[in-house]
Symmetry: C7
Subunit: 95 residues, 7 copies
Amino acid sequence: MNIRPLGDRVVIKKIEAEETTKSGIVLPGTAKEKPQEAEVVAVGAGGLVDGKEVKMEVKVKDRVLFSKYAGNEVKIDGVEYTILRQDDILAVIEK
Amino acid sequence: MNIRPLGDRVVIKKIEAEETTKSGIVLPGTAKEKPQEAEVVAVGAGGLVDGKEVKMEVKVKDRVLFSKYAGNEVKIDGVEYTILRQDDILAVIEK
Amino acid sequence: MNIRPLGDRVVIKKIEAEETTKSGIVLPGTAKEKPQEAEVVAVGAGGLVDGKEVKMEVKVKDRVLFSKYAGNEVKIDGVEYTILRQDDILAVIEK
Amino acid sequence: MNIRPLGDRVVIKKIEAEETTKSGIVLPGTAKEKPQEAEVVAVGAGGLVDGKEVKMEVKVKDRVLFSKYAGNEVKIDGVEYTILRQDDILAVIEK
Amino acid sequence: MNIRPLGDRVVIKKIEAEETTKSGIVLPGTAKEKPQEAEVVAVGAGGLVDGKEVKMEVKVKDRVLFSKYAGNEVKIDGVEYTILRQDDILAVIEK
Amino acid sequence: MNIRPLGDRVVIKKIEAEETTKSGIVLPGTAKEKPQEAEVVAVGAGGLVDGKEVKMEVKVKDRVLFSKYAGNEVKIDGVEYTILRQDDILAVIEK
Amino acid sequence: MNIRPLGDRVVIKKIEAEETTKSGIVLPGTAKEKPQEAEVVAVGAGGLVDGKEVKMEVKVKDRVLFSKYAGNEVKIDGVEYTILRQDDILAVIEK
């Protein structure tokens, strides 16, 4: 992975529905914003972000739930990633 | 429970209307936003959130009232949960 | 009362119009938001709320005026309460 | 006066147009928000309000100009008052 | 002048177009908000305003340019004044 | 120049298109907000602005790029100027 | 490059689609805001920006991904640049 996210940003790779089923996470059909499962592929250094100290709480290879509409999508070497702020990550799924 | 919420987030499981009646909490029919009863199943570590120190005031198994429209819903192993910030929890119901 | 409000939240019980008349408080008919009289039934611990120190200035049994549209309503054992932030309380009525 | 306003709030009693004329204050007819003259009847203790130190600069019996649309109206023993934040008071009229 | 503005507020008296011409300030006809020339007649004490230290940079008799739509108008003894925050004053015109 | 801008404000004089061409700056025709070239004619003292320390980074005679829709226009002795905050200046053009 | 961006601003030069393909970054066609690849040509000094300490994390010649709608465009000596805040840069592409 050749992307270094700035500040409190994190690069994640979405996990498709098939894999999602394997890990037991199913996202219900509701009118609410639905989080999506992903794997962390790169983590910013944290530190001062908008004048506030941010400590990174996720690490590469973590499985995370994130808000589906957060962040920016980008494709690298044919693979789609999402770059978002750590604060848009809701939780880490521990195995 | 295999989800570790980040920062000041809390994972809760809604308590259905039947259980609600048993604990004596009934939500009135008004035009206002109505809080809902739930049980806490996982609590973030707190600490610095958006540059502000947050101390977690709820713990696993607490019965809480939360704002119905707050947070994100997610289903794990067939059970629906809500991930929300502690600040969206209104009160703890003490038994 | 078996509800412990979090942070700077306060649980109050509205005082009906009849009682209001007795205490001499009458709310005028205007287009503005009208405050309502209530009795405090539970008070949060205050402390750090959204990163700011909050000192609770009301106590259980205080008569207060609050902004009618503030907070969340909840019914416990058949009685309606409102959970709101202390900052939505305008004044204490001293007897 | 039996109302103790919380934090940086102030209770004022509007001075009617007749009195206004006597003190020499006349509010011009413009499209802008017009301030109104009032007498202070109760003053909050100030201190930490929304995490910021507030020092009260008005005292009971001060004549003040305030923004007409600010605050909440309440009638006590048949008299109408307005409860507003000190920051909505524009100036003190010194005699 | 018998008005004491609170906090960082300033009372100014607009200078009419005739006077404006004399001092060489002419306001161009554009779609943008146009500043207007005025004389300072009263200055608040500054200090803590909304939790921030404000030092007053204008003094009575200063000629200032201010944003035309800022502040509140008030008429005292037949003269129109504007009460605005110092931050709505753009510049002092030095003679 | 007889204007002293307050706080972090700066007075600039726009450089017309002809001059712009000479310095090599040409503003492309896009739907985006386009910056404009100007010369600094007066600089505020900086210091505490809205409770935050501001250090002035531009000086009189600097050539700057600024956001075309920022600030207030004023005409002095027949010349048009713009008064804006330093933060609305994008860059200094060094010769 | 004769532009010195102020504060936390950065001047970048977009890399056209052809070059983008060479580096392996392809931007997918979605309804979301798409980041774009660029090369950094000038970096502000950082320091106190809006009262907050900002440390510059990018340097001249860095390849970066930035939010396509951020910043202001300007053409210098016939070349188009974008001036934006460092916070609008999502990530550095490391070679």
